[in-house]
Each structure stands twice: as C-alpha cells, then as structure tokens.
Symmetry: C2
Subunit: 436 residues, 2 copies
C-alpha cells in the first residue's frame, strides 16, 4: 500500500477503504506516511468529501489510535451530549448533573474554548479547586460512583486526531464537514458512551452559519454514530444570539447555578430540558421526549440536579460551597455598560462578535496554549426582538484591565437596532431534529 | 503574510499574487513555510487551477530561486526547443546542431528520461566520453564559441522547482497543468534563451493523451513565456506511435546521425525541419517558416549540421569519430524479433507500451536514481497503416540479458493488427500550432 495511491484515489473522487485510512493515519503516527502527504490528502478530502462509510472508517481509525474507555461494567446506558460550540453555551453544566440525577450515567470528556466560543472545561475551572485533569481511572470511578464526570481530553485519547487536527489547523482544512465530524466523534466515542445527543449550533455565532451546513454536519455525525453502533440524535439549535444571560466563565457558572435552582433564562432552561429529555430517552430512563422533559424539569425544581452538581464538584476536588455562596466564584473588578446608540428594536445580535468581545476581555483564547481569565465576560440585558431606549444598557461588560474599548467596538457592530414598527420575527431556538 | 491565508485563498478559488507565491516558495526553501503546507496548497491548485498571471508568477518565483544564466553578451537571438516527452523522440540531437549551423545559438539544458520516455542527456551520453555535466561557465563559453551546448540541469538551476517537484511526486499533484508548465519553464528559462519552441506531444505515448489536454498545456506554457517576455511558439505533434525507426539511447543517436547525413525516417526528418524552421524564425535567421524549412533542410543535406554536431561532441569531451564510425557507439549483444501474430494492417502502436518495452530491456529508468543501458532498445519496422504478413517482424529488440519476455508481452498488447479492408487513417504528425 502506498500513500500516493490513496491520495490519488481521493483526488480523483474514489472511495477510500478502512484499511487505506488505517494505513494513512497509522503511518502518520509511525512516520511511514509523511505530514506533507497527509495534508495533500486532507485537501483532496476538502474538495471531494467523504462517503458515510469513509467517515465512519476515519473516525474508527482515529478513535482506535488511542485509549477507548470501557464503561461496560458500569450499569446503565451511558449517554453524553456534544455541542458544536456556541456563545454563552453553558448547557453542559446544568445538563450533566440533571441527567445524572435522573439515573442516566453521563461520562463527559470536553474541550476548552477556542476563538469566540467558550469551553466547558474553562467554565468548570472557574469553580475554585475544580480539576478536569483526572486520570481515566478516576473518570471511570466517578462515572460509576457519582453518575457523572467531566474531564478534559487526555493524551491517551485519539492521538491521531490530535496530530491530524494540528495539520489541518495550518493548512486551511479545518473547515471540512467529514473531517470536523471525524475529529469530534473520535474524541467523544472514546468516552465509553452508548448514546450521544448532538447539539448542532446554527447561525451567526456558530461554526455552521447556514441551516444547510448544519444539517450536513448533523447528518454526517449521526451517520458516524450509527455506523459505530451508538444510539444518537442530533438537534439543530439557533445560535443567532448568545445563549442565556451571561457569556464568560464564572458568569456562566452562576447562570448554571440559577438553572439548577429552578430559575435561569428561558432559553438556557429550554435547551437543558430538551437536550436532557433526548439523553433520557437514549439512556432508557424515559419512554419518550415528553416524559424526559418532565423528569429533567423536575430534577431542576426539586434540587436533585443541584445536589448532583455538588457531588460532582466535590468529587472533582472543587469547592462545593459555591452552590450556597456565589461570592466564592471569581468576579471581575469592574463593570462597564454597553448602551443602545438609538431607540428601537434589537434585530441582530451577532453572537460571534459577542464571543469575540468576551475573548478580548480575557475570557477566551486565540491560541490553544493561552490561559483565560475566569472573572470576565458579559451580561446580556437585551435580546433579539426587545425594544430599547437610547442609552439603555444592552449588555454589561465584566472586566479587568484589558480589552474594554475593543470589546465595545465589537458590540457596536454586533447589535443592530431598527425601527420597532418594522416587522421582526425572533428566530426559533429549536431548528431541526435528526434522529439516527 | 501567512501560509494559511494563501492556502485558504487558493482553496476558495481566489487568485494568489506574486508576493504570496514568493512568500510560499521562498518560505519552503528557508523552512518558514512547511512542506505540509505547500502540499496542501498544491492540492488546492490541482482542484482550482491557476490563472495565467498566477502561473507566470509561480514560474518567475521558481526561476529566480536559482541561477538564471545571462547570455546577453553573446550575439544573436538564442532559441531552444522543449519537448514534453515522447517515445523515440531524439529530435534535439539533429535539431540543435542544424539550428546552430544556420546561425542561431542554441543553449539547451535538458532532462533525463523517466518512465516510458527517453531523455536527451541519456542519448548523448551513449556517445563515448560525451559529458553533460559541464559548469554553467563552460556552457556559456560553448554557446558563444560553438553556437550550441547541451547540458543537464545543474544544482544552481531552479532549486525551488526541485523541492516542489519532489513534493508533488509523492502527493499525486504532478498531473496538474499549471504546475507542469511552471516546472518545465522555470528550468528552461534559466538557460538564458530569448525564444522557445515547444513541442507538445499528444497521444498514446505522450503525457497528454488528448488534444484538449495538450492544447491547455501548450496555451499555458505559451502564456508563461509571453508573460516572461520570451518569444514562443508551440506545436502539437502526434505521439500515437514511436517517432522514427529507433527507440533506445545509442540506437537513437544512430538515427540522428542518419538525419544529419540527409537521410533518416520521414517523421524524424519532418519534425527536425519543422521545429528547426520555427526556431530559425524566432531566432530571426529566417523571415518565415518556408525559408526556415529550406535552411534547415539544406543544413542537413550539405553536411553543415553534421559538422556542427561533430564540433559539439568534441567540445563536450565526446568521441567525434562516431560520426564516421558508428561501431564506436555501444551496441546490444543480442537481437530478438517481435513478429506479427496475424496478417493485416497495423492500426495501433501504443507508443507508451513501446517506451515501457525499451525501459524493461534496461534502456529507461523507473526512478530518477537508476542508470540506463545505452545499448538496448527497439528497431521499429512496421508503422501505423503498414500491412504485414503473419510472422513478419514488426520490431527487433536490441537487448542484453534482461526484460525480453516482458518487453515482448508489452509489444503484443501495444500493436493491434486489423483487416486491411477496414478503412484506416494514419494520424497526422502535425496536430496544431499555437503562437505566442
């Protein structure tokens, strides 16, 4: 087998087999296949795409390049949720404990934020002491004993994906749905899950800007999970404005605590309930979505989800007293309002720009090796469709000493205020559902 | 400037500028741009193509990565010919001395054979003592004093092309017309020429199998030369059967000597006269093609071209006595006939297969680092359209101890004999002409 022939086959629109992908990806790790051959192959994939069979084979190859956690000895159907990344997307924080509180084990290996999107790990780490760098043994133990564990990707997980991603990142081949899907799922399926709920974000703040792109991504990921014999469902949800009331790490933990206390913004709660219901159905803890919704809602109301979150925090070396005393969370020293330049209706809230504003304040990272400031971020006061007066605060920046002017400039561009008499429809939060 | 952005631009169908190409190609040599970025870019070029401006810029960048010989102090308009590679294509051997004998200096930097096509350097080296590894200083001196010099590509010439070609060769991006054109011309234009005649081969034994492909390649190369302010003309010539009577290194030298003695096969002579006429017109030694044809034909008849070849051989350390005593050329110890399996008309002579047959006898190389046996090859007796009896020799293999059975098997597939009553048109040798 020669890398050349596999590249040529893909270049010419042929279907690459699983042994060929194993040769390429295995060869990349062993050095037998050169980086410069892989990147030519990746660019050919960019142009030619991949069939479902190919992308299943690619995912399987990358998955099995590393450790695949075996949770079969833990009773129950293990289910996780994956979001393709949004702004203010803190859903995993209330969701994981709520689902676990309903009896479905949630093994969750998450990522960090990059660019305009935040990451679950960064948010969790704003809880004092919280550790996401547990060993896979500890992870397995906590899934069994607590019903949930939230950690970061370890070096043992999908090393081929790590290498491939690093090459894609410098060759303009990140933005390619088969490669995106394979990358996401080669990490997710290493968790030891039986089922997966996919939250595919669509809109201005999402990686997929159009419904068509998001649908293709969702269908591809559903096909991969099905090909890997995992139960799966994908929801397309709107990312036309930031989710909920807060963007920023500690700020999003606070909002999550609100949700776990039966409060919180309507969209954050709705996403938690809906995605939780899907997880309970996959986890066979609810016979249908309605029962699932009821169970998740009850767990948020009766404190059981909140209690589960406390257990998780404690098990992962965090200070569970944040549940009762939010002053234990880090907070920014300063606040600055971003106000409406004119009166009218908010008709656009470019959430990517909002994400970048938070990043500029220090809440996100441009490069993977950067750190984040857990304290900073934004509180969003006006949502799409709201009518504001001139000078009324649209958002409040929580900040320290950097990025305020730049962030304000971004927000000025992000928010469009129009005549209230002009008809305007607020985009629906739930866009589509694609079952396995 | 970032390699990423340039790759992305090409990926998305944008036009890459000369500074961007200089950054990429210069960065490749300095190490600032990584091999794996270049190959992704090359694959994007494979899919997106290049505009004339881009391919001119690429050629210029690769050309100026190394030494560009300056021959401006030598009087006359310096003209070379480049063939895209054929089987039995020994035209440079009679052509260069004929054109030089007509007063147009011919600075010729040639390549070696690879795969089924032979190379001018290998053919010349079958003349005892002939050296093609002269320095660029010697090359300049011989163009001035003898009017012609035929050497191999030195390390100083277009190092960027060498690096790029090595990467293309292992990433299935060789077969891409803008890259082929840039590679050919970045080497050719380093010779110090003022004009170039391109012989673009088309047909079974050519790299361009269809007239459409050959036309695109010719147009691209003409555009590059024009963009680099060189006078240029391209001829598309048929490669549906081997050129002339011999395929093989010393055997082709013998045929070239025939042509230089005013003899030789009709097609070899016609190509020499026609391409020579084009060179004389570009070199301003003939006012039109008819005058050029007459001058070249005369130089072949009156011995002046032969005498010039003798001067070239002597100046390049070869044994010029081969002109009078062909037994000084190496010859194969054995001969085996390939005979017609049935009576009828030769309607196909797959020249790629004939080239491979010669390669299998040792006359060619599969890898650039292989050597060639100058003695071996084929004498072709029957040409397209000829009627043969069963058992009549179609070709005679000149061979040593290897490859005879394999070569015969190739020839059996290459030659198709049909009913003589079936109408058959011999393909025209001269297919098209594309002027600058």
């Amino acid at each position: 087998m020669r890398a050349y022939d596999i590249i040529q086959k893909k270049r010419d629109g042929g279907v690459v087999t699983e042994p060929e992908l194993k040769f390429l990806v295995g060869g990349l790790l062993s050095g037998e296949v050169k980086d410069y051959q892989l990147t030519a192959f990746l660019m050919a994939v960019y142009f030619r795409g991949m069939s479902d069979d190919e992308v299943v084979a690619l995912t399987s190859t990358m998955l099995h390049s590393g450790t695949v956690v075996d949770l079969t000895e833990i009773p129950g159907v293990k289910v996780d949720k994956h979001s393709t990344g949004g702004v203010g997307d803190k859903i995993s924080l209330p969701l994981a404990p709520a689902v676990a509180a309903c009896g479905v084990p949630v093994p969750m290996i998450s990522g960090r934020g990059l660019g305009h999107t935040g990451g679950t790990l960064d948010k969790l780490e704003s809880i004092p002491g919280f550790r996401v760098d547990l060993s896979l043994d500890d992870y397995r133990r906590l899934v069994r004993d607590v019903g949930c564990c939230l950690i970061g990707q370890t070096k043992e997980v999908a090393p081929a994906d790590k290498k491939l991603y690093a090459l894609r990142d410098v060759t303009a081949t990140v933005d390619c749905i088969p490669l995106i899907s394979g990358s996401i799922l080669s990490k997710k399926l290493a968790e030891g899950i039986d089922g997966l709920v996919l939250d595919v974000k669509v809109g201005s703040g999402a990686f997929m800007k159009t419904r068509e792109q998001a649908t293709t991504l969702a269908r591809t990921m559903v096909a991969i999970c099905a090909g890997m014999r995992k139960s799966v469902v994908a929801r397309l949800t709107s990312m036309e404005q930031p989710i909920g009331q807060y963007v920023g790490n500690a700020l999003e933990v606070m909002e999550s605590l609100d949700v776990l206390e039966g409060k919180g913004p309507a969209d954050t709660v709705a996403l938690t309930v809906e995605l939780g219901a899907e997880m309970l159905v996959l986890g066979r803890a609810a016979k249908d979505l309605d029962e699932g919704r009821a169970k998740i809602a009850r767990s948020l109301q009766d404190g059981s989800a909140r209690e589960k979150f406390g257990q998780i925090i404690a098990a992962q070396h965090g200070d569970r007293r944040v549940l009762d005393d939010r002053s234990r969370l880090p907070s920014a020293p300063k606040k600055t309002d971003f106000t409406a330049a004119r009166a009218g209706r908010v008709v656009a809230a470019d959430s990517e720009a909002v994400g970048v504003a938070s990043l500029l304040l220090g809440g996100g990272r441009l490069r993977a090796e950067d750190g984040v400031d857990p304290r900073v971020g934004l509180q969003i006061h006006a949502r799409l469709g709201d009518v504001v007066a001139a000078g009324q605060p649209i958002a409040t920046l929580h900040h320290a000493d950097r990025g305020v002017e730049d962030a304000l400039a971004r927000l000025h561009k992000a928010y469009v205020i129009d005549d209230p008499a002009t008809p305007f429809a607020v985009p629906a939060l739930f866009v589509d559902r694609i079952a396995g």
